[in-house]
Amino acid sequence: MLSMLTQVLFLFAEPAPISEPATEEGGIQLLLPHPDELIAGLIAFIIIFFFVWKWAVPALNKTLEARQAKIRAEYEAAEAAKVEAESLLGDYREQVAGAQDEATAIVDEARVAGEQVKADIVARAEAEAEQIKSRASDEIEGERERVAGELRREVADLSITVAEKVVEANLDDDMQRQLVDRYIDELGGVH
């Protein structure tokens, strides 16, 4: 277990010579740059620098510019859409208001027309009723006159008949009275 972990921990590490006597000027060695490492470090840094300078920074700038342009375009589009929507809304508001006025006018007109029609109908109905009434009373009058005329004619006929009968039979008083009574009875039967 320990040796495994050791190997993992120091995978890259070369075992340093142990118990080598410490050199006289050990400290200063740590402080002085090692030429190989200095060269490797400078080369590595210069490669990084050129990569950053020629590729990374322009790439990021391009990305940011593209993002900025897109956001600006979207913002402007949204702004335009908003203006359009507002004008549309105004139009619709106007239209709605116009429609309302129109509807009110139509209703008013309809009401006036309705009133008129109602008045017409009432007047016509009244006139008709008047007409019917007068015609009915005319008819009644005519009927009455006709009946009266008929009655008169019949009375005359009866009178003539009675007269004939009176003339026809020699009549005594009794008979006369009887005759007259019968006559009257007949008359009553007619009526």
């Binding site: 400290g27 200063i28 740590l30 402080l31």
Partner: protein
């Protein structure tokens, strides 16, 4: 005397670290009170604080180098 060399170098570094230690404490304390007074200037104060620390630290760093050289 040769055997005491290491110990003297360590003491030298310890002494060299006293001044910068106090100095950095003062720098950070002022920076904190400045940030507390003006939180909106905290970013600028933090940058300046790091600069102050960096300049104050120089003496301790020279002491560190001398520790290795000695």
């Amino acid at each position: 005397m040769e055997e005491l060399k290491g110990a003297i170098a360590v003491m030298g570094y310890g002494l060299a670290a006293i001044g910068p230690g106090i100095g950095i404490g003062l720098v950070v304390a002022s920076a904190i009170s400045a940030m507390a007074r003006q939180p909106e200037a905290a970013g600028m104060v933090r940058t300046t604080m790091f600069l102050g620390i960096a300049f104050t630290e120089a003496l301790a760093l020279i002491g560190f180098v001398l520790f290795f050289i000695a």
